[in-house]
């Protein structure tokens, strides 16, 4: 069960994930990122502070956007991951393929730097 909220701050789209992303709910994350990209945002932040669990289905969603985000020059930064969630990314070395920061401020700063 997951709730995904989107809000905009200083020109960035913030996707907040609340709950668990598994094989039953990864489609909702996919739709939220697709909408954000489709609406033309060039800075997308993913608030993971209330993300309790992620399985490979969720990791796969992030992986599947890496090339599109790069091609469209969209800054994409995740922040606020709990240690056990970050560990899931790290087991396969995916943490190195995505931009991950601790706080929203750091994530915004990085998104601004990347979009110059």
């Amino acid at each position: 069960m997951v709730h995904i909220k989107r809000l905009q701050e200083e020109g960035a789209d913030i996707i907040a994930i609340v709950g668990d992303i598994d094989a039953s709910s990864s489609i909702e994350l996919d739709l939220a990122i697709a909408k954000s990209v489709g609406e033309g945002f060039t800075k997308i932040l993913v608030d993971c502070s209330a993300l309790e669990y992620i399985s490979s289905a969720g990791l796969g969603v992030f992986m599947s956007y890496i090339e599109e985000l790069r091609d469209k020059k969209i800054s994409f930064v995740l922040y606020g991951l709990k240690e056990r969630v970050l560990n899931t990314f790290s087991i396969l070395g995916l943490a190195d393929l995505l931009n991950i920061r601790d706080t929203k401020q750091e994530a915004k700063k990085l998104a601004n730097e990347l979009s110059i």
């Binding site: 598994d22 094989a23 399985s55 796969g60 992986m63 599947s64 090339e67 240690e83 396969l92």
Partner: protein
């Protein structure tokens, strides 16, 4: 000590499976990170089985047994009667390949193989048993 959980093959039941695993391992000296990794690996195995062997039919059941010895390795068994798929014979795509192909699948089996120490398949009384072993 042993615990058993039976559940229909609906992806909505994965959360219940994760809670069952956490409850069974609670108080066994498993660290948060190890607990997270074990829960993840078993979630991946169950969701693969539900999707590929049972097409998410909630009338099909799978069982999970957890054996906790006084000392040594934890043993997790996932039992079903669908078609058997031995992940030891599956060559998972590289991460680079997945990114390039924009594929969303293929990471789960890699996670399970990384997390678990041993993955074995057995057949008993017409049932498939996937036995996963993990030293903690």
């Amino acid at each position: 000590m042993s615990y058993q959980y039976n559940i229909g093959c609906s992806l909505n039941n994965l959360k219940g499976i994760r809670e069952f695993i956490r409850t069974s391992l609670d108080g066994q000296g498993v660290s948060d990170l190890e607990m997270g990794a074990i829960v993840l690996a078993l979630d991946e195995m169950c969701s693969n089985l539900m999707i590929h062997a049972h097409h998410c039919n909630p009338d099909h059941n799978i069982s999970m047994n957890i054996h906790i010895p006084a000392k040594g390795e934890f043993i997790f068994e996932i039992i079903d009667d669908g078609s058997m798929f031995d992940i030891n014979h599956f060559e998972e795509p590289t991460i680079t390949h997945l990114v390039h192909e924009k594929r969303k699948g293929g990471l789960g089996i890699r996670l399970v193989k990384t997390i678990m120490d041993k993955i074995e398949y057995l057949q008993e009384n017409g049932k498939n048993i996937c036995r996963l072993t993990k030293s903690v």
